[in-house]
């Protein structure tokens, strides 16, 4: 137990978390500190490219096996199922409309890549290994939850027609394409390719992550400023209750798959995290009736900080304990 606490403590005092905290504090204090949109996008492109490439390079070393395929499939299933759990929980805890609840639920089935990246860097800094293909699992988990959300809406009456265009937008979302593409490049070029560009995608990685989390903190803090107007107490409870629930599904799957301690932890993180790029954009198009501030604030303002600060160290500790790793 106090192992976890010590862990959480060291986690809370890492430059990464403190940068996020700085951003939140600055936004709450209404400072005019801000990262330009273009710079924020550039940072996220860097992170997606780097994490994808490294994952691919790792797989090119380890090679593909049944476990890889099984884990990808598990990710697919988790992304499909979690929204139903989330939806039920939302209906119990909140008075959100079916459409709003479905939109939110979709976010929790999908994943937050920066949460994944933060968790990876914690694992790395503590010397805990993990399966390189977890990046591919992350990519696979991005989209399916959207379909579950749309299904939930359709079921509750207010149906939306899904045209081919929307399918492409969802499946070829920029972050998915970049993540999978970089993974493929890393896979093809392998250790040699990684060595070529490692002083770009490996060495400065944690530092870049700090700046990106500073920006995430600013955006999240801006959302929190008017959280009271947007979210009821029930919704906030959901925002901190859902991650551990999602994580437990990830945990079960990870143990069944016999992943390494790091792999289990990452699958927990993926299941626990909520999307803030792919899904919101898709919802804007597919569910215009849903109120964006609700799902954006919950995902970025409540769940993301929770996972970043408390979630990650806990998930890692649990994964270590139960895998005996």
């Amino acid at each position: 137990m106090d192992g976890i606490l010590a862990l959480a403590a060291t986690n809370l005092t890492s430059p990464i978390i403190l940068s996020f905290a700085l951003g939140v504090a600055a936004a709450l204090a209404r400072s005019d500190l801000s990262v330009p949109e273009a710079a924020a996008k550039a940072l996220s492109i860097y992170l997606l490219f780097a994490i994808g490439f490294k994952g691919g390079a790792a797989v090119s070393a380890s090679g593909i096996d049944a476990q890889l395929v099984a884990t990808l499939f598990a990710g697919l299933v988790l992304s499909f199922l979690i929204p139903f759990v989330a939806f039920t929980l939302l209906r119990i805890l909140t008075r959100l409309s079916a459409v709003d609840a479905a939109a939110v639920a979709g976010h929790y089935g999908s994943i937050s890549i920066v949460t994944f990246v933060a968790a990876s860097s914690v694992l790395a800094s503590r010397g805990i290994g993990s399966e390189g293909y977890m990046v591919a699992v992350a990519a696979v988990m991005e989209a399916p939850a959207i379909l579950s959300a749309l299904f939930l809406v359709a079921r509750s009456g207010s149906a939306e027609k899904m045209d081919a265009e929307m399918w492409r937008e969802i499946l070829l979302n920029g972050s998915i394409v970049l993540l999978i593409g970089a993974f493929a490049i890393g896979w093809i070029t392998g250790a040699e390719g990684l060595e070529k560009i490692s002083s770009f995608i490996v060495a400065p990685f944690d530092g870049v992550l700090c700046l990106f989390l500073l920006d995430m903190g600013l955006v999240a803090g801006r959302g929190l400023r008017d959280v009271r107007g947007v979210l009821g107490g029930g919704a906030i409870v959901f925002g901190v209750l859902m991650p551990p629930i999602g994580a437990s599904f990830g945990l079960a799957a990870g143990l069944l798959l016999g992943l390494s301690a790091g792999g289990v932890a990452l699958l927990m993180v993926l299941s626990a995290s909520a999307s803030y790029i792919a899904v919101p954009a898709a919802m804007r198009v597919a569910l215009p009736q849903a109120n964006p501030s609700i799902y954006l604030t919950l995902s970025l303002g409540v769940t993301f900080p929770f996972n970043l600060t408390i979630g990650i160290p806990v998930y890692i500790a649990v994964a270590l304990a139960l895998t005996g790793g």
Partner: protein, 103 residues
Amino acid sequence: MQTHKAKRVEIIIEAPMERRLRRALEEAGVTGYTVLPVLAGSGRSGAWTREGQVSRAAGMVAFVCIIRPERLDPLLDAAFDVVESHIGVVSISDCDVLRAERF
């Protein structure tokens, strides 16, 4: 200088809908339009700003389309189909243009 009557249509719509509106306009035979970036805004669904945003979800773009009066209605119909269930703001004003032939 010789000018001609025309209409200036301005459509402010969610960024994720940009592609759809573009296609709708092209299908409606609109000969030209320009898309302006939007920095921030406020409306019934609250205030927002692009600053530091990675996702396009929280954001709008502004379409400006100069068009001959007689072509206005097809444009509005096309635009409306896209905007309808969305939060787009559509405004039309009279204007004069040089070189009417290009519209």
